[in-house]
Amino acid sequence: MAKVLVVEDEHSHAEVLTMLFILEGFEVTVAANGKDALDQLNRVRPDLIVSDYMMPLMNGGEMAKMVRAAPLHATVPIVMTSATDPQQVEQYSEHYDAFVRKPYLWDDLFAIIKRLLAPPLDV
């Protein structure tokens, strides 16, 4: 079962995402902000991180930068989401794998997740 770390300060959003990930067969952990996510990283060892950008204490961009710097988690795919202009998040673009602007449809988000988690093709 793949493990996803949902980093989201908006409680309702985190709850619904959790429900939808569970329905897709994921094991879900929720962190309320970037700092909380880093605190849980070693314990959860996620296969995927879906993070909001604007959050208290530590934003999603800083969190992604720190994850990339942690040797154990440097390759974990990160999907950044935000209602802000993508240019605001651009400065962190080398630290995440995909950006999805809010409000987004679950189907669009999940299509990206499936691409990120798909095993590489043998050449």
Binding site: S93, D97, L105
Partner: protein, 485 residues
């Protein structure tokens, strides 16, 4: 590392796309329909029409290729509701359950509370790819919530769910429409109030949009009806029809059909696409003037008679006694006579029936017999002047030349309703009819009160009745003297 990719952003964000309700009046009020992925509250007392409205929207949505889910939190069975819905023409048995799916959340609510309902919604509706969801029984949910915080959380999660799934949600709540909005209700994207109340011996229904995020709406109370076709909503005419009338009076006149009458003004008849008030007491000749007018119908100038008093058969008979063959015109489809029940319909219902008939018949001659049919509606007292102004503008815009009879108790013809409701300001032209007693004889007199944009003969003329109907006597004789008395 590969550059990150960005999700496809649709040209029109989901949040601004529309979901038409399929109810023309509602879609007009909302300027196109509900916003996709919005959460809307329909509130009203039992019997106000919430369930019918929600089901009608569902069946319209699935007819257009969507999928709808109808979830009740009540203990009652769906079978009974479906039995009632089957009576409406919008209901399609074959759409249930493949396209419209009915499910009860009663057990989930009882056993696991509101979070159980949210889970059920997410699982059931997602697997069925529902993009319109009705949740019937918000009051039940509110009563089951352990705290206001829980209830707000439930509504908040519904909003997130609807946004993530691109699913529009209708919440139905059985409370008096006038109840103030509670905190959780203020969180939704739109609130509709449905009312039904007694007006004399008849029930008047209305719909009001009290909140609608992301778009302007037509404000105020809009008349609503429920019949075999479901719900019909009539946007309040004076708020809905505000487009400027481009048509200008261009000097073209439409013959009155009464010998000697056309020469009373410079235009040579009623100016085309104008509105004329025929004012006078009972028996002064208003209806007959109107019958002459519609009796001139041709395939190029079709006519419509919109009446409240005499039935079409009686009108045809009256006209026939003056050699006006309306029956033949009806058979040729150059004339249509529509009768409306007096005092049974609302203002907007009448207006939209009239405008729809004008559009359908493309009539160039319209006779409304008479204004009393509108005056008898309770709301006229409050809305009369702006309502008539809007109606007149619409008729001008449609290019029809309109006569409407205005009843007056005043035998001198200075009709009270004309002054009381500002009708003279609304009408382009006024024809005054009066009755004058002279010894053993009662004479009919006519004068032009005004003709917009035309010079006119203000003198009073006598109207006489012959075997071929009315005619204006060229020589007024003693009529002018009589008018001075």
């Amino acid at each position: 590392m590969l550059a990150p990719f960005t999700s496809h952003v649709p040209e029109v964000p989901v949040a601004l796309q529309r979901l038409p309700t399929g109810i023309a009046g509602v879609d007009e009020i909302l300027q196109g329909g509900l916003l996709k992925a919005g959460v809307y509250l329909l509130k009203g007392a039992p019997g106000a029409g919430k369930t019918v409205l929600a089901n009608q929207i569902c069946f319209h949505h699935v007819a257009a290729g969507g999928k709808a889910g109808y979830v009740t939190m009540l203990a009652e069975q769906h079978a009974r509701m479906l039995e009632h819905m089957a009576e409406f023409s919008f209901y399609r048995a074959e759409a249930v359950p493949s396209s419209v799916y009915y499910v009860s959340a009663f057990t989930a609510l009882r056993e696991r509370g509101l979070s159980g309902v949210t889970e059920l919604l997410a699982a059931e509706m997602r697997s069925r790819k529902v993009d319109l969801l009705v949740l019937d029984g918000l009051l039940t949910a509110a009563e089951s919530a352990s705290s206001l915080k829980d209830l707000k959380l439930f509504v908040s999660e519904l909003q997130v769910y609807s946004a993530l799934m691109g699913c529009t949600v209708l919440l139905l709540q059985s409370v008096a429409a006038e109840d103030p909005l509670s905190p959780e209700q203020t969180m939704v994207d739109g609130v509709f109030r449905l009312r039904h109340e007694l007006a004399g011996s008849r029930v008047e229904r209305s719909l009001q949009v009290v909140k609608f995020r992301g778009s302007a709406t037509i404000d105020g109370l809009h008349a609503m009806q429920i019949n075999g076709d479901g719900i019909t909503v009539f946007p309040r005419l004076e708020a809905a029809r505000v487009a400027e009338v481009e048509h200008v009076i261009n000097g073209v006149a439409i013959s009155t059909g009464v010998p000697g009458f056309d020469s009373l003004n410079q235009a040579g008849g009623y100016p085309a696409a104008s509105v004329t008030a025929l004012s006078g007491p009972s028996g002064s000749g208003k209806t007959l003037l109107g019958l002459h007018f519609v009796g001139q119908a041709t395939s190029h100038e079709p006519a419509l008679l919109f009446g409240f008093y005499e039935s079409p058969a009686v009108l045809v008979k009256i006209a026939a006694s003056f050699a006006l063959d309306l029956e033949a015109l009806c058979k040729q489809k150059t004339l249509k006579i529509i009768w409306q029940p007096y005092g049974l319909l609302g203002l907007d219902d009448l207006a939209y029936r009239l405008l729809s008939a004008v559009e359908k018949t493309r009539c160039k001659r319209l006779f409304i017999d008479g204004l009393g049919g509108f005056l008898s509606v309770r709301a006229f007292e409050e809305r009369g002047t702006p309502f008539l102004a809007a109606l007149s503008n619409e008729l001008r815009r449609l290019g029809t030349t309109t006569l409407f009879a205005v009843e007056s108790d005043d035998p001198t013809g200075f009709a009270v309703p004309l002054a009381a409701h500002g009708i003279t300001a609304m009408a382009d032209n006024v024809v005054r009819l009066r009755l004058q007693d002279q010894k053993e004889l009662t004479r009919r007199l006519v004068s032009m009160g005004k003709v917009r944009g035309s010079r006119l003969d203000l003198s009073m003329r006598e109207l006489t009745l012959s075997d071929t109907g009315l005619l204006v006597v060229p020589d007024v004789g003693g009529a002018a003297d009589l008018s001075q008395r």
